[in-house]
C-alpha cells in the first residue's frame, strides 16, 4: 500500500524534473487519443516535432507563437506569486491589442509609433487588471471570478468595436483598419515572421526574474503572496503590493497584445488571440512561477500548437489535440506539484 506523507523540504532538481514529468505524462496520456483517431502515435508526434522545431523556419514560427505566451506566462507568474489570482490575462491582452492598434493607425515616425503602441497597450492591460485588484482590495471580491468574467466583457467590447466603428466598410469584414506600415515591427530574419517583439519577449523574462528575486518590490510580492499577515506585521502595505502586482501583470499581458498587433496581424480581429491569455496560466504553472522557466514552457506550448496543425494535415488527427495537450499538461503539472509538498511512502513493507 502507498501513502502520501508531508515533506519538509523540496529538492532543487524538482524544479526541472516536475515539468518534464508532467510533459512526459501528458504525451503518454494523449497518445491514447492519437491511437483512437487512427494514427500512429510515434508518427504523429514525429510530425509535430518536425513541423515545430525541425528546421530553422519552423523554429521561427514556433518562436513567433511563443512570444505572446511568454508575456502572458510572465503576467500570470508575477500575479500568482503575490496570490493575486489573475485569470484575466486574455482580456488584458485584447485590451492591449486594441489600444496599440488605435495608436498604430495614427501616422507618425515608425520608432515613435512602436514605443507609443507599447506604452498604450501596456497601459490598457494594466487598467483592465486594476479592476479585479481594486475590487478585491476595496470590497473583498473574489479575484478569480472577477478577472475571469472581465475577459468576456473585454472580448465583447472588442467585437462591438470591430463590428461597429472599426468595421471595414469596403469588405464588410469585422476587422479593424490596419496600422501604419511604418509602425509594423521590423522582421529580424528575412523570409520569416520573426519580429522584434519576439526578442523583446525573450529579454523581458530575465528582467522580470530580476525584479522578483532582486528588488524590494519582488521581495514584497513574494512575502505578501506567502503570508499576508506576516507581511503586514513586517510593515508591508499588502494592498499596495497587490495593486502594484496587478499593474505589472496587466502590463505584461497587454504587451502580449501589442506584439500580436505590431508584429503578426497589423490589425485587430476577433480571433487575434487563440486563448494566449489562458495558455499563460499553463505556461506559468509549468514554469513553477519562475520567470526564467516561462520561456521554455511557452516554447513547448507554442511547439504543440504549431505542430498540431501539421500533424492534423499529415495524419488526420484533429488539431484540437493541441488544446487537449495543453489542458492535460496543466492537470499533470498540478498533480506533479503535489510531490513538492508530499512524498509517496510504501507502508506495510517493513513487516
Amino acid at each position: 500500500m502507498f501513502r502520501l506523507e508531508v515533506r519538509t523540504s523540496t529538492p532543487a532538481w524538482f524544479n526541472l524534473a516536475l515539468p518534464l514529468l508532467a510533459i512526459g505524462a501528458t504525451l503518454v496520456l494523449c497518445s491514447g487519443l492519437i491511437a483512437l483517431a487512427g494514427a500512429g502515435v510515434l508518427e504523429a508526434y514525429g510530425v509535430m516535432f518536425t513541423a515545430s522545431l525541425g528546421d530553422s523556419y519552423a523554429i521561427t514560427e514556433t518562436m513567433v507563437r511563443a512570444a505572446p505566451m511568454i508575456f502572458t506566462g510572465l503576467a500570470v507568474a508575477v500575479a500568482f506569486r503575490a496570490k493575486f489570482w489573475n485569470i484575466g490575462a486574455e482580456g488584458q491582452l485584447l485590451a492591449g491589442a486594441v489600444a496599440s492598434c488605435f495608436v498604430g493607425a495614427i501616422p507618425m515616425p515608425g520608432p515613435l509609433a512602436m514605443v507609443l503602441m507599447a506604452m498604450a497597450g501596456a497601459a490598457a492591460g494594466a487598467a483592465v487588471a486594476l479592476v479585479p485588484a481594486t475590487l478585491r482590495v476595496k470590497f473583498k471580491v473574489d479575484d478569480v471570478v472577477s478577472s475571469l468574467l472581465l475577459n468576456s466583457v473585454i472580448y465583447y467590447a472588442l467585437m462591438a468595436l470591430i463590428e461597429g466603428p472599426w468595421k471595414d466598410s469596403f469588405s464588410g469584414y469585422p476587422i479593424s483598419p490596419p496600422i501604419e506600415d511604418s509602425a509594423n515591427f521590423p522582421v529580424l530574419l528575412e523570409g520569416t515572421r520573426l519580429h522584434l517583439g519576439v526578442v523583446v519577449a525573450l529579454l523581458t523574462a530575465p528582467l522580470i526574474w530580476f525584479l522578483i528575486v532582486r528588488t524590494t518590490l519582488g521581495f514584497r510580492i513574494r512575502v505578501t503572496g506567502e503570508n499576508p499577515e506576516a507581511a503586514r506585521y513586517g510593515g508591508i502595505n499588502v494592498e499596495r503590493v497587490l495593486i502594484s502586482t496587478a499593474l505589472l501583470s496587466g502590463t505584461l499581458a497587454g504587451l502580449a497584445g501589442v506584439g500580436e498587433v505590431g508584429g503578426v496581424h497589423f490589425q485587430v480581429m476577433s480571433d487575434i488571440s487563440p486563448g494566449y491569455g489562458y495558455s499563460g496560466i499553463v505556461v506559468a504553472m509549468l514554469a513553477r512561477l519562475n520567470p526564467l522557466g516561462v520561456v521554455p514552457a511557452a516554447i513547448f506550448l507554442a511547439a504543440v500548437m504549431t505542430g498540431a496543425e501539421a500533424m492534423s494535415r499529415a495524419t488526420g488527427v484533429p488539431a484540437f489535440l493541441s488544446d487537449v495537450i495543453q489542458g492535460t499538461a496543466l492537470l499533470a503539472m498540478l498533480v506533479a506539484l503535489l510531490f513538492t509538498a508530499y512524498r509517496i511512502r510504501r507502508v506495510g513493507a517493513a513487516r
Binding site: 500500500m1 501513502r3 506523507e5 519538509t8 523540504s9 532582486r214 528588488t215 524590494t216 518590490l217 519582488g218 521581495f219 514584497r220 513574494r222 512575502v223 506567502e226 503570508n227 499577515e229 506576516a230 507581511a231 503586514r232 506585521y233 513586517g234 510593515g235 508591508i236 511512502r345 507502508v347 506495510g348 517493513a350 513487516r351
Partner: protein, 505 residues
C-alpha cells in the same frame, strides 16, 4: 505487586526523517487509568512518536501492542478503530459546521443516516460525566480555543477512545481553563482511560501525571515514577542532560520613560477593545502585562507594534510622539517587536529563513538601496544571527517552516535585538518552548534590560512574569486595573486582580 496489564505498549519504535533520528528504539507503555507524561526538549521526538502511534507515520522499526495484541496502525482510521484518540497541537475541526455535526462526521447511524438524537444524548452524557459541556448547535467558528479543544476531546471519546493523546494541550489555554481540562482528564482516567499528556510546563506535569517518560534526541532518557514528588529541576536535568538554573534578576536601575501610552482607546475590531489605557515603561526595566487572555492584550500589542491605529490617546517612544502607528514608524523610533504567533504573524514559513529575518527592515539601507535588494548583506546578516543565537538549521536558505518552535523564536528575537531597540514589546515569549529554550530567551531579555532597554512582556504565565518582570500591570476588560511592583506581587494577588478587583499601584 499487580500492575494492570498495559493498555498500549510501543516497543523499539524507530523513525528517521532523512538524517534526523526523530525516534530511536523508544519503548513506552500506558496502563488503563494512567496519565503518562511525555517530556522532552523541543525536537526530542514527542510529536513524532505520537504520530506513529496515531498512524500518521509508519515507523521504520518497532511494534505497537494493544492489550497484549500486536496491531498495525497505518492510518488515523486504524488508530480510531483501535481506540486511540489524539488531540493535535493544531485542531482538526470543520469551522462552518456545528459542534454536533463535527462530532458526527464520518459516523453514520444504523440506517446510514445521521443519528442526531443519539448524538445529542451521547454528547450530554459525556458532558455530565467529565464536565465537558458544549452547546451542540454552535458553529465551531464561534467557539473559543479552549472550547475547540474540549470538542476535540469529546470527539475522541465519542469514537470510543480508550487512549487519549494530548499534544501540548495547555499551550493554548489560559491558566483558568487549565484547571477545567485537568479535572476532566482526571475524571476520564478514573474511568479507566489511558492518557498521554505532553507539556513543557513541568509544574503541570507534576500536578497531573502518574508517571513520565522522558525523551532526549529521540531516545528514552529516563522515566519518572513519582512525578508529584520529583522536582522540576530534576525533570529538567533528565530532559536536557544538564541542570537548568533559573536566571537571576538583579536589581533594576530604571531611567526615563521610554514608552508611554496615555489614554489609548480602540474600537471596531474583533476582540476586546482598549479603554483608556495609560502606562509607562522606563529604560532598564521589564514591565509585565498579566491578564486572562481576551482582555485586550491583543489590541494593546497591536497598538504598540504599529499594526492598529487607536481611536483616542497618545503614545510616545523614546520621547517622540507616534503619529501614524505604522510598523515602519514605530521601528524607526526604536521599537523592537516580537509577535504572539510565530508561525502566522512572525515568519513566512514557505520562504527561506533569511527572508523572514530581514522582513521588517527590508526597506532600510541595511538590506536594500534604491529598490534593489542587497543579497550579500541579507545573507551575511542571517548567517551572523544564526551563529550568534545558535539557531539550529542547515543555513539561512532553509525554509523557515522547517525550524522548531524554539529556533523560530530565537530567530525572531535575533532579528529585533540586532538593531538595538530602545523598547521591546513581546507577547507570550516562551509559549511552546522547552525550559532550556525559555531560559535562553529570558537571559536575553535580562541582558537587554541591563543595557538599558525597556521591555514589555505580555503573558499569561504568571510564574514567568514574576521571574522576569520588575513591575506587573494587570489587564481586565480592556483596562489596566492596577500595577504591582513584583516584590509585592504574588500569584494569588495577581489572580484576584485578573478577575477585575482593583489593585493598588
Amino acid at each position: 505487586m499487580s500492575l494492570p496489564a498495559p493498555l498500549i505498549e510501543m516497543r523499539g519504535i524507530t523513525k528517521h526523517f532523512g538524517a534526523v533520528k526523530a525516534n530511536e528504539a523508544v519503548d513506552l507503555s500506558v496502563a488503563p487509568g494512567e496519565i503518562l507524561g511525555l517530556l522532552g526538549e523541543n525536537g526530542a521526538g514527542k510529536t513524532t512518536l505520537m504520530n506513529v502511534l496515531f498512524g500518521a507515520y509508519a515507523p521504520d522499526a518497532g511494534e505497537i501492542l494493544i492489550q497484549g495484541q500486536k496491531v498495525r496502525i497505518t492510518s488515523s482510521a486504524d488508530a480510531l478503530a483501535a481506540g486511540i484518540g489524539m488531540v493535535h497541537q493544531h485542531f482538526h475541526l470543520a469551522p462552518r459546521l456545528t459542534v454536533l455535526e463535527n462530532l458526527l462526521i464520518g459516523i453514520p447511524g444504523k440506517t446510514g443516516r445521521i443519528d442526531r438524537a443519539g448524538g445529542l444524548a451521547r454528547l450530554a452524557e459525556i458532558g455530565r460525566q467529565h464536565g465537558l459541556t458544549l452547546d451542540p448547535d454552535l458553529p465551531v467558528s464561534a467557539l473559543s480555543v479552549g472550547e475547540q479543544q474540549r470538542l476535540e476531546i469529546v470527539k475522541a471519546l465519542f469514537r470510543g477512545a480508550r487512549l487519549l493523546i494530548l499534544d501540548e494541550p495547555t499551550a493554548v489555554l489560559a491558566p483558568s481553563e487549565v484547571d477545567g481540562l485537568f479535572s476532566a482528564l482526571r475524571s476520564m482516567a478514573a474511568q479507566g482511560l489511558g492518557i498521554i499528556f505532553i507539556s513543557h510546563k513541568l509544574n503541570e506535569v507534576r500536578a497531573l501525571t502518574h508517571r513520565c517518560t522522558v525523551l532526549r534526541h529521540g531516545r528514552v532518557a529516563g522515566r519518572v515514577d513519582d512525578p508529584a514528588n520529583t522536582t522540576s529541576s530534576e525533570m529538567a536535568t533528565l530532559m536536557c542532560g544538564h541542570e537548568i538554573v533559573p536566571p537571576a534578576r538583579g536589581p533594576s536601575t530604571p531611567g526615563a520613560d521610554v514608552l508611554t501610552l496615555d489614554g489609548i482607546s480602540t474600537s471596531k475590531h474583533s476582540g476586546t477593545p482598549l479603554r483608556d489605557v495609560s502606562l509607562a515603561v522606563r529604560t532598564g526595566e521589564i514591565l509585565g502585562i498579566a491578564g486572562v487572555s481576551g482582555n485586550g492584550q491583543r489590541a494593546l500589542a497591536e497598538v504598540i507594534s504599529g499594526t492598529r491605529v487607536p481611536d483616542a490617546g497618545q503614545m510616545t517612544i523614546a520621547g517622540q510622539k507616534v503619529s501614524r502607528f505604522s510598523p515602519r514608524e514605530v521601528q524607526a523610533l526604536g521599537l523592537g517587536r516580537i509577535p504572539e504567533d510565530r508561525m502566522t504573524t512572525g515568519l513566512v514559513t514557505n520562504l527561506p529563513l533569511a527572508d523572514s529575518m530581514v522582513l521588517p527592515r527590508i526597506g532600510t539601507t541595511a538590506f536594500s538601496s534604491k529598490g534593489l535588494l542587497k543579497p550579500d548583506a541579507i545573507r551575511a546578516f542571517a548567517e551572523a544571527q544564526i551563529k550568534a543565537y545558535d539557531i539550529r538549521c542547515p543555513g539561512p536558505m532553509t525554509r523557515a517552516g522547517a525550524l522548531s518552535g524554539g529556533n523560530l523564536q530565537k530567530a525572531l528575537l535575533a532579528r529585533e535585538l540586532a538593531f538595538d531597540p530602545k523598547v521591546l514589546i513581546v507577547s507570550q515569549p516562551t509559549r511552546g518552548l522547552d525550559i532550556g529554550a525559555a531560559r535562553f530567551i529570558h537571559e536575553k531579555f535580562l541582558a537587554m534590560r541591563a543595557k538599558g532597554c525597556g521591555i514589555v512582556v505580555i503573558g499569561e504565565d504568571l510564574e514567568e512574569l514574576l521571574v522576569l518582570c520588575d513591575r506587573i500591570a494587570v489587564m481586565y476588560e480592556g483596562r489596566i486595573v492596577g500595577t504591582l511592583d513584583s516584590a509585592d506581587a504574588t500569584i494569588a494577588r495577581l489572580g484576584l486582580m485578573m478577575t477585575g478587583a482593583e489593585g493598588h499601584s
